[in-house]
Symmetry: C2
Subunit: 307 residues, 2 copies
């Protein structure tokens, strides 16, 4: 059986089965060190799948660093170090690599994170795998599990910009991919939530998928009112101009890296729903909306591949 | 200018220049934590460059884990955790992935290292980037810098097996690649050297390249007697059968992941030379031998690529 027939989550389940272990999914691996947890996370992007060769390497670098730091944010942590294992074809221009590393470093600098090198290899296509390391107080760590019945569900920012940028780019607006890469790790927000929110996760694969994962891990229903979701203005425009359902742009596509958290009172961001019993999901005008979001290796979407 | 025109070390120098920093090369990044250093390292392998798609995934997995742990060994550390950021084309067979992860886990188990997941993505070709995390006592850490005039130079095992395996494989012995992948991280040896050796490094790109790097970083001459180097029996056979200079197999090719260390007295392994003044290098019958070893992105070798 090929990976594409299984989908990412079933593949990961089978890997853990193979190893005879059961790992709880969280945004980072956490390791106790005195009063702290060390947080470790890794995120990969590859040419042709997550970015195209002709895109601005500085923006690719900054995106790459941001999505790695986002996992630290989702656990309430302070990022400290970043390393990158990068590989390129031999004819990759040195100038592009300098721009790319400049982009990584400039994003990291904003969050006082140190770039500490890594590995550099050659490969048939360009790709890079980041490692972000940080820490969080043991009594403040945010996990995906922990939501309580009656908690509100909150989001740190507007959704749909990345999807809108992608479709604009597909429709010939060459620079519009910049919206897809324009991601800000919610480090400060995560720090404000640390020790206060009952559960937290970042939106990589779409709100719909995030909600489903939080429901499964918490064994509770997450009831979200679509009309309460803050929508990026670009998503409204693209939905109208290209006749793409707004739900698809706002909850299916993903890539926003905003934080979703639960709490018995608002800490920051916008309330979009409530942790409840029974049947959960995202509802608009009484009807459940949204698919599964972007799942790697599933047959649904391979957003950029083959463009 | 393309990366291939520069070679790995000049690329890395230019990256640090871009960032306005100067990083000392070591096998791991080390971060002080109380009486210990945390050691963090990452190593990437890609299909078509470091392994071929038809090779046994279990052996690829075990090799992949081994070369990552080797960097912890070279700094005298105890490896604790391993994560992997892996990417595969959608038609990669699930059975192969299970074998691969089984190989990773079985190598890790031998060294009591825990596999803690990582990232899984799709990509045009298969590749994987490992993260090994360990620790070492602050007063025992082994670095590349620290060799003293008059120290002996030692190696933990025989060299040339991986090169021999590669050439056998190229000459049609289909299973011979197994020698190339048969690598054992010298964790126990590294622990014995910790706090005692004056400098240490693992051999990834060939003894010749390792010696050059140690010379540059220590600002001393490393004088090695070729005839003192322990040579793997397969290297003798392949050298004779295919008329390949023994030096090429033993000091240029690399991939052994044995440790090279310096010390004023033997701790383990075999003495092969001495830290001296003047002109260093590897000498045989009074003549300097060996090229630069395998340097990624250089024009010299791309061992497996395009086969």
């Amino acid at each position: 059986m090929h990976l594409a027939e299984l989908g990412e989550r079933r593949i990961i389940d089978r890997i853990w089965e193979t190893l005879g272990k059961r790992e709880e999914y969280d945004d980072c691996v956490y390791v106790p060190r005195g009063d702290y947890y060390d947080l470790i996370t890794t995120d990969f992007i590859g040419e042709g799948t997550h970015f195209m060769g002709e895109w601005d390497p500085r923006l690719i670098g900054s995106f790459f660093a941001a999505i790695n730091l986002s996992d630290i944010a989702a656990m309430g942590g302070i990022p400290e170090l970043f390393m990158a294992s990068m590989f390129f074809p031999p004819d990759y221009p040195m100038e592009n690599l300098e721009e790319l590393v400049g982009g990584i470093n400039s994003l990291l600098s904003q969050y006082h994170v140190e770039y500490r090198g890594g590995d550099l290899k050659e490969s048939r296509i360009a790709g890079m795998s980041g490692i972000a390391i940080g820490r969080v107080e043991r009594n403040k760590i945010l996990k995906r599990r922990g939501a309580r019945l009656g908690d509100g569900i909150y989001v740190t920012g507007a959704l749909g910009k990345q999807a809108a940028g992608y479709y604009l780019w597909k429709h010939g607006f060459k620079e519009a991919y910049e919206h897809l890469l324009d991601v800000h790790p919610r480090i400060e927000e995560g720090r404000s939530l640390a020790g206060r929110a009952t559960s937290c996760m970042d939106i990589s694969d779409g709100l719909s998928s995030t909600i489903t994962q939080l429901e499964n891990i918490n064994n509770l229903a997450f009831l979200v009112d679509f009309d309460e979701i803050p929508v990026h203005k670009l998503a409204y425009e693209v939905s109208e101009d290209y006749n793409i359902p707004l739900e698809h742009l706002v909850i299916d596509f993903g890539g926003e890296y905003e934080l979703i958290y639960t709490s018995d009172a608002k800490i920051l961001g916008k309330r979009i729903g409530e942790v409840s019993k029974g049947k959960g999901g995202i509802f608009r005008d009484g009807k459940k909306v949204g698919g599964r979001g972007y799942e790697h290796f599933s047959e649904v979407l391979d957003k950029v591949r083959g463009q």
